[in-house]
């Protein structure tokens, strides 16, 4: 199994980094997070068409470049590092994976090329963002494909052209499609998309509710399939967290070199050195496990514990780095003016997005138990 990035992958990583360094500086992050849509369409266009990020993991038959979770992870890691503001995670990770893994070939052929090109934006509606086992507890579809119920937390629903919905139906779960370009958000079709205030303003959140809303059924969703989808999403998320954590970690170490108290740089105090050294251990652990999880998915392994382990470790690590990043800056770290809080908020939000660490440790144990 692959343990390090290939030369091509390193080149790809550098290209993404260069692009985001230029297009997503903190000033731009702050500007975009204060807007309703939360992203810059021109940056999105270039990211899709020039860099091809939106189709990186989509097979060539459907307009993508045919790479997999490792390359997607490289991209999301850099997005986490630069706190890229845009619907990439909702559309290219969540909605695209849902289509790839659960939709009929017909639906894939119809929808994936638009997503691959970044010309359509998707979002994935799950009524529970904690645990795959709970999905379907409040959203249901009737026999004629009408949806009923509420999903309290949907990422980037306000930006979506198409909405994929996992809903309960007689005998299980199904994947449903709402083409938002056709169905408007009007009372007549019972669809409501309500923007919500989020802890992490760089990722837009909505509440989505359906009241006898017509949708098209485009695929079967098994519990195992849902777990697999979940795992693909959390591995991309874990990469994003590693990217953010690394950025905060580096800038914090740098700060301890520059800041003087008691006649010496604060980084010369052993208490701070030890804390940073411990963090590095945690960071390297989480990074190795995350890369390994992507490699497992890439190798097409059957459902295993690695993704859950990666999400749990990356979440704990990111929060720990974020807390330290504020703490080691002292008063400055708690201000709005300093950028640290932007990453802190992403860390806090990502910690619970798609399952808190303790839930993933529980999932991990369930899987390990089943094997041995």
């Amino acid at each position: 199994m692959q343990l390090t990035l290939s030369e091509d992958q390193i080149d790809f990583q550098d290209m993404v980094a260069r692009f985001l360094e230029a297009s997503s500086p903190p000033t731009e992050v702050r500007r975009l997070m204060a807007t309703e849509s939360g992203y810059d369409p021109e940056v999105w266009r270039r990211l899709s068409s020039e860099l091809g990020l939106t189709g990186i993991h989509i097979p060539e038959t459907w307009g993508g470049s045919g790479f997999g979770p490792i390359e997607l992870g490289i991209a999301t890691e850099q997005m986490g590092r630069y706190l890229y503001c845009g619907p990439f995670f909702a559309s290219s990770v969540m909605a695209t994976y849902a289509l790839l893994q659960m939709a009929s070939d017909e639906a894939k052929t119809a929808l994936l090329p638009g997503l691959a090109a970044g010309e359509t934006l998707g979002c994935l509606v799950l009524d529970d963002l904690n645990d795959p086992v709970k999905v379907g507890s409040s959203l249901a579809a009737d026999a004629s494909g009408h949806l009923q119920g509420t999903a309290p937390l949907v990422v980037d629903a306000n930006n979506a052209d198409l909405m994929l919905v996992v809903a309960r139906e007689t005998g299980g779960l199904g994947l449903y499609l709402l083409d938002l370009l056709e169905i408007q958000d009007t009372p007549a079709n019972g669809l409501r998309i309500t923007p919500r205030q989020a802890i992490d303003e760089t990722r837009k959140l909505c509440r989505v509710s359906f009241d006898h809303t017509p949708a098209v059924r485009i695929g079967d969703v098994t519990r195992q399939g849902l777990n697999r989808l979940w795992d693909h999403i959390i591995v991309a998320l874990a990469h994003e967290m590693i990217g953010g954590a690394q950025r905060l970690f580096d800038s914090t170490i740098e700060y301890t070199r520059l800041r003087y108290q008691f006649g010496r740089p604060i980084g010369s105090f052993q208490g701070l050195k030890h804390r940073c050294a411990d963090l590095l251990v945690q960071l390297e652990f989480a990074r190795s496990v995350t890369f390994h999880a992507a490699a497992c998915l890439d190798a097409g392994n059957e459902v295993a514990h690695e993704p859950a382990m990666a999400k749990a470790m990356a979440s704990d690590l990111y929060m720990e780095v974020a807390r330290t990043a504020i703490q080691l800056r002292g008063g400055i770290g708690f201000t709005w003016e300093d950028d640290t809080h932007l990453w802190f908020k992403r860390a806090k939000s990502a910690e619970v997005f798609m399952g808190s660490p303790h839930l993933h440790r529980e999932r991990m144990m369930t899987m390990l138990e089943a094997i041995s």
Binding site: P152, G263, G333, K348
Partner: protein, 413 residues
């Protein structure tokens, strides 16, 4: 004096004097004159020399009867305790009373951009010119400076002496042309602290506290009171929705004076909300979460008991060193962190949301974004650990890099 006697005396005094129709200042003046405003203060200065437990009993009576107490918001208290300890009789006579009546609000002007943990590294300059002190420099993170009438100020009167010896402590009026206050926004959206710029600001000679060059010793008093104040904030127990002039004025005062502190309970982690949140979300059934709640509630209770033991020892006159300040401050921050962790576990993905439409009217989100402050404000966790290790445990001190004349010490510009 027995608790029962205190209670009886206060109750009958209140029966006779309390009326909601007084103005706020008039009522508090009555309280001050009768010695019920700050009972733990010395008898010479508005108090009765009560122990802190007796003083708490008094506060409880006020709360039970829903009677407006003396003013007490935090930097005001720090100023009062420091003036009591180091002030001249004249200073005490001048400053203490308006603190209790609420006529004067105070702020703490200690931290600077270049000196936070290293408070003794302050470089704001105070020079005696024509019989008054002229102050130049910048302070930062000054909570409620935008509402303050006076500040307790640490400034350098001598740059050639070693850093601790060149400091002096001043009482400065905030209402003067040389003082400019600019609010700073925090990561949780509130703006309770400020930058304070002093350009040829003046302090009358009589407002030097504790003598020239004694600033560090005086500041130490303030800091030890400040550390103790982290034991847990007391929210106003008085119901403000009652008819009567004193309630109206009190409500108005609280709205302004307490505005910078509205998030302080949240930065302490809101342990009080944990059980109800766990029940209403069903998280109480999750074994992993139960463990963490139990851990949190154990810490919380242990901290209360540790403080009570320390207080009992102090009262019994034991000369055992009771390190309750730094331990309590560090404990508050460990508890707040665990509380944020528990609230996150309980909320799950709902913790992504914020604002009125999120858990407990946005309170949980505010906890998650406020807790980082408690391990910084009033001296960081690292500094508390150093104090515990070096002063309480007597472990060998770090080698110093800041000896010799202050002007030669390396520091940020």
């Amino acid at each position: 004096m027995k608790d029962e006697d205190i209670r009886k005396e206060l109750e009958s005094w209140l029966d006779e004097h309390w009326s909601p129709d007084h103005s706020l200042v008039a009522w508090r003046s009555i309280l001050v004159d009768a010695g019920w405003a700050a009972t733990h203060w010395p008898t010479d200065f508005h108090g009765r020399g009560f122990t802190s437990q007796q003083a708490q009993l008094v506060q409880q009576v006020f709360a039970n009867r829903n009677i407006v107490p003396a003013a007490s918001s935090s930097p005001r208290g720090l100023a009062a305790e420091t003036i009591l300890a180091h002030g001249t009789d004249e200073q005490k006579a001048r400053y203490l009373r308006p603190i209790l009546t609420g006529e004067h609000a105070w702020c703490q002007l200690f931290s600077e951009p270049g000196s936070g943990s290293d408070l003794a590294g302050a470089s704001t300059r105070a020079a005696l010119r024509d019989g008054q002190w002229v102050i130049n420099g910048q302070k930062v993170w000054n909570t409620s400076a935008h509402h303050a009438d006076f500040g307790i100020l640490l400034a350098r009167t001598n740059f050639d002496l070693p850093k601790h010896q060149g400091l002096s402590y001043f009482l400065i009026s905030m209402h003067q042309p040389g003082v400019e206050v600019r609010p700073l926004r925090q990561m949780n959206g509130h703006a309770s602290f400020n930058e304070v710029f002093m350009t040829d600001a003046v302090v009358p000679a009589g407002d030097l506290l504790g003598g020239e060059g004694n600033g560090w010793a005086v500041a130490a008093t303030t800091l030890s009171y400040e550390r103790q104040s982290f034991r847990g904030s007391r929210r106003s127990a008085v119901n403000l929705d009652l008819p009567g002039r004193v309630y109206e004025e009190y409500a108005r005062e609280q709205a302004i004076a307490n505005e910078p502190y509205s998030w302080y309970p949240q930065r302490e982690g809101r342990v009080d909300l944990v059980m109800s949140r766990a029940r209403e979300t069903g998280a109480i059934k999750d074994p992993a979460i139960r463990q963490e709640i139990a851990r949190l509630l154990s810490m919380q209770q242990a901290n209360g008991l540790t403080a009570a033991v320390a207080e009992a020892k102090r009262r019994s006159g034991s000369n055992e060193i009771v390190p309750s300040g730094s331990i309590g401050k560090l404990a508050a921050s460990i508890i707040a962190r665990q509380a944020a962790h528990v609230h996150t576990m309980i909320a799950g993905a709902d913790a992504m949301a914020a604002g009125p439409d999120s858990a407990v009217d946005g309170m949980i989100a505010e906890v998650l974004l406020s807790v980082p402050a408690i391990s910084i404000a009033g001296g960081t966790d690292e500094i508390q650990r150093n104090i515990i290790a070096e002063r309480v445990l007597g472990m060998p001190k770090e080698t110093r890099s800041d000896t010799g004349p202050f002007r030669d010490i390396k520091r940020n510009a």
